[in-house]
């Protein structure tokens, strides 16, 4: 079993206890940011997954929102607060929607994919902003999570939720890494390069895109549930296109090189945001935009490519050293 693990997966498995331990050591506000950015990081992962196939989803907020609202509505109307049930519900809701929407979206590429995904997410935005039962534009609050009947309080509740966020995130990330290393994952890259050839080789590009789309929706839905529980609140902004734009931003910035890149990217962005907004609230988006432009122009494979280059440089140095 361990033989099949690549370095990223080993790293992820090690990182889980480290993350949980950090929850004890680090000050509370940092832990909060880690928790929130794990939730949104999962959505960025979903965007990155599609980007590998050359598809830019400007509407990933749709599944982020569906996940969050599914959990929220279960809490509000059914009184469910068990985290396992909530995550399962969020996952189920987003996968169901993605399954049907996928039949439509899998036929589109490039800007049409971007625009149709955007349109779908804005439909939900328009719907939720007017639904008074669900609090219109204000949204509504979620109950605090329980764990198979155990209902912790105070600091324990915070910590339990943090742990409960770390575990599914790491599991999802490992599974996604598996997927990307498998044949179905590589088909994505082949589709980006030349879709027609993929079809000639005997694989259905439509089906591959559909599966990719559903997987991306699934992780985004889970991310939505975890994020909503962390904040204790959901509102329609989750599915506004500007939110989806931020997920796209993270994927561009961190690059599609490695599965953990979007998670790191989200966290760093979250921390930078805190200081940038405090220092000068009106230039935050300008910083984002400039960073994004610079990344697209100078680092088309994202910040992660810097790490990869360094690694490559070190290994060639070693090679040269051993030869001499």
């Amino acid at each position: 079993m361990t033989k099949n693990l690549d370095r990223t997966e080993k790293g992820l498995i090690i990182s889980l206890p480290v993350l949980i331990a950090l929850g004890f050591i680090l000050p509370e506000w940092i832990v909060n940011y880690i928790q929130v950015s794990l939730g949104t990081g999962l959505v960025a992962l979903g965007v990155m997954l599609q980007m590998r196939a050359g598809l830019v989803s400007f509407g990933q907020g749709l599944y982020f929102c569906i996940g969050g609202y599914a959990a929220g509505m279960a809490g509000k109307f059914l009184g469910v607060s068990d985290i396992f049930v909530l995550v399962a519900l969020g996952l189920f809701a987003s996968v169901t929607v993605a399954f049907f929407a996928g039949f439509l979206l899998r036929r589109y590429r490039e800007i049409f994919f971007a625009m149709l995904s955007l349109a779908l997410s804005m439909i939900l935005f328009g719907l939720l902003s007017k639904l008074e039962v669900l609090g219109s534009t204000d949204g509504f609050n979620l109950p605090s999570a329980t764990y198979l009947g155990w209902a912790p309080e105070g600091d324990t509740a915070k910590y339990a939720l943090y742990v409960a966020t770390c575990i599914p995130t790491i599991i999802c990330t490992i599974l996604l890494n598996r997927y990307l290393r498998g044949p179905m994952g590589y088909v994505g890259e082949a589709i980006r390069e030349n879709e027609l050839r993929v079809e000639y080789l005997g694989t259905s590009a439509h089906r591959a895109v559909h599966i990719k789309y559903i997987i991306a929706a699934a992780v985004s839905g889970i991310g939505g549930v975890l994020w909503a529980l962390a904040l204790g609140h959901v509102d329609p902004e989750m599915t506004n296109w500007t939110t989806s734009g931020q997920f796209v931003f993270v994927s561009i910035l961190s690059g599609t090189g490695n599965i953990v890149a979007p998670l790191f990217g989200t966290f760093i962005l979250e921390i930078v945001r805190v200081y940038a907004v405090e220092a000068s609230p009106n230039t935050w988006q300008m910083i984002l935009g400039t960073l994004m432009l610079l990344t697209i122009i100078f680092l088309p494979k994202g910040l992660w490519s810097l790490i990869q280059k360094k690694k490559a440089a070190i290994s060639t140095q070693k090679m040269a050293g051993s030869e001499s």
Binding site: V56, Y108, E110, M115, K130, W241, N282, Q285, M286, T290
Partner: protein, 298 residues
């Protein structure tokens, strides 16, 4: 009957506004193949600059009549300054790249422009309602409408006519059609494609800013209006087929009437209806209702 008249007038009003706000987007896409998200930024800049200029001018206590000159002037100023800076400063290095990449580039520019408006005009709302009321009201079937609204419908028709005439009846316009048809051949024939691109982008930016500038007197100008308009404008140009002026007219009528109908019959569905129409059209005919589908490239 009253509702029907109200829907007709409001639908036309919305359609005129939508056309003015989105024709620049379709022009830039048609010529340059850039789906320009920064269009929302031009719209916001236009709205702010015209509201600000009107406010400054009216403080001097002069007559309101000249504000109608300030609106297009501020739009042109925004279009030339912002359009030139963005096209020469950023976009020209990107020509020939993927269309999707250009979406991301213009998204980055949009984010920058959002903050540029905040830095210049702050986050407070600007109000410049005077031009909208100076022309007075007229009653149609007992419902009062501002004359300004009808002036906008006239302006939209005039814009469409000028664009059509410019593209189809002038030498420059015909050369532009050649550039749209094939960039490389036209530059081999000695047409200055770069200049065409720059000028088109400036015109597109000016039209975007004009959309914002004429809207400013009817609303209170607040941060975030650019993000709202860009999705509407997408819906408009997608419905008729991206890159065609005629398509933008049809799209604007579609969305305008969809919105007017839902506003009068079922207000809760207002936003929802627009995006639904957009998604439905994309689902059935992704290249627009009236566009020929593109050949699939190997």
């Amino acid at each position: 009957m009253l509702t029907a008249i109200a829907i007709a007038v409001d639908g036309l009003g919305f359609a005129a506004w939508l056309f003015l706000s989105s024709v620049g987007l379709t022009l830039i896409y048609g010529v340059m193949r850039i789906l320009n998200i920064a269009h929302g930024g031009f719209y916001a800049l236009g709205a702010y600059s015209s509201a600000w200029a009107i406010g400054l001018y009216l403080q001097t206590g002069s007559t309101v009549a000249f504000t109608y000159l300030l609106i297009p002037l501020s739009a042109i100023a925004v279009g030339i300054i912002a359009g030139l800076l963005i096209e020469r400063g950023v976009l020209r290095f990107m020509y020939g790249r993927d269309e999707v990449l250009m979406v991301l580039v213009t998204y980055a520019i949009f984010l920058i422009l959002e903050d540029v408006t905040k830095i210049i005009w702050g986050t407070e709302s600007l109000v410049a309602y005077q031009p909208a009321y100076y022309l007075g009201n007229i009653d149609i079937a007992g419902i009062p409408y501002t004359v300004y609204k009808f002036a906008l419908i006239g302006l939209a028709i005039a814009c469409a006519a000028v664009l059509w005439w410019g593209l189809n009846r002038t030498r420059t316009g015909k050369l532009l059609l050649v550039v749209i048809e094939d960039r490389e051949i036209s530059s081999a024939l000695g047409i200055n494609v770069t200049l065409f691109f720059t000028v088109t982008f400036i015109i597109g930016a000016t039209l975007g800013a004009l959309g914002g500038a004429v809207t400013a007197p009817q609303i209170s100008v607040v941060p975030g209006i650019g993000a709202e308009i860009i999705v509407m404008a997408f819906a408009v140009i997608v419905i008729g087929g991206m890159g065609s002026i005629g398509g933008a007219i049809i799209g604007a009528l579609f969305v305008g009437f969809a919105r007017a109908i839902s506003v009068h019959l079922y207000p809760a569905a207002e936003l929802f209806s627009i995006y639904l129409v957009m998604a439905a059209v994309l689902a059935v005919k992704p290249y627009g209702l009236f566009a020929l589908s593109e050949r699939r490239k190997i």
